[in-house]
Symmetry: C2
Subunit: 129 residues, 2 copies
DNA sequence: ATTTATACTTACCGTTTGGAGAGTGACCAT
DNA sequence: ATGGTCACTCTCCAAACGGTAAGTATAAAT
């Protein structure tokens, strides 16, 4: 099998690595990515609308993730002081750029789904036999 | 005669999304990415060598993550039947391609570290004041 | 006989995650 | 007066995560 030779990674500074790992760890979780996708697709949405587009998310996780994304500067939260309350969320420029960066992983996963499933079946079969 | 729906994102099929989310969720965790980086940097390494390059990882997590990566077809595990045991790990082609896909997120995080930290400080300051 | 080395595996256990569901506040419609 | 709406917030609880430490197998070295 022709595996390409080890390519040097763009960065090796341990301090930067740590910060980057931290950022990625926070940013690359399930709900964050799903919400990122929803907002990239639909533009500006209200709280419950975002929730409707993310099947299976609980109110707690929706609030929590949206807050974290706001804190990180990925989404902009706009509160309209009316009753009943109206709060709208949309991606910032930073949020969009993250979406684009993630696009690579996303499409990688799409492109290689079959390969991964095949590898898993092979592995599990070998374990039994 | 429908208005063309705004669709900057590559995919919207819920079934594919679910699978992709699943794959990304498993693949995009802290230890997996760190090991991916290490193996991309160093080529083929033994168990303890990988561990030495991933500061803070426990034996348990090292074994577990390596196993999962093997199952997903990301790393190839080679056992040399000698005593004491000698087991070597290296990335497969699939593993390399994932590394490259993640590279985008990695560099995004590097490029935007300052912006994120600034956003956080702004957010936290606003919360206090 | 005991130690050493490697690559695990297992048991235990504290920490964290995250879901369910109830509560809140303010105003409008009935 | 009661109920409905919206965007949360809070509490309780079960499950998952992940670290520590001990155990396993084997053969060579002391």
């Amino acid at each position: 099998m022709g595996v390409p030779p080890p390519k040097p990674w763009p960065d090796s500074d341990p301090r930067v690595d740590e910060l980057v790992n931290d950022v990625i760890g926070q940013v690359a979780d399930k709900w964050t990515m799903l919400i990122l996708e929803v907002l990239a697709d639909h533009g500006e949405l209200r709280f419950t609308q975002v929730g409707r587009h993310v099947p299976g998310i609980s109110q707690k996780m929706l609030t929590q993730t949206l807050r974290q994304m706001e804190r990180d500067g990925l989404v902009q939260r706009t509160v309209h002081p009316v009753i009943p309350p109206r709060v709208e969320y949309k991606l910032t420029e930073l949020g969009y750029s993250l979406g684009e960066a993630f696009c690579g992983v996303w499409t990688w996963a799409e492109d290689n789904l079959a390969r991964i499933e095949a590898a898993r079946e092979r592995f599990d079969a070998a374990k039994v036999g």
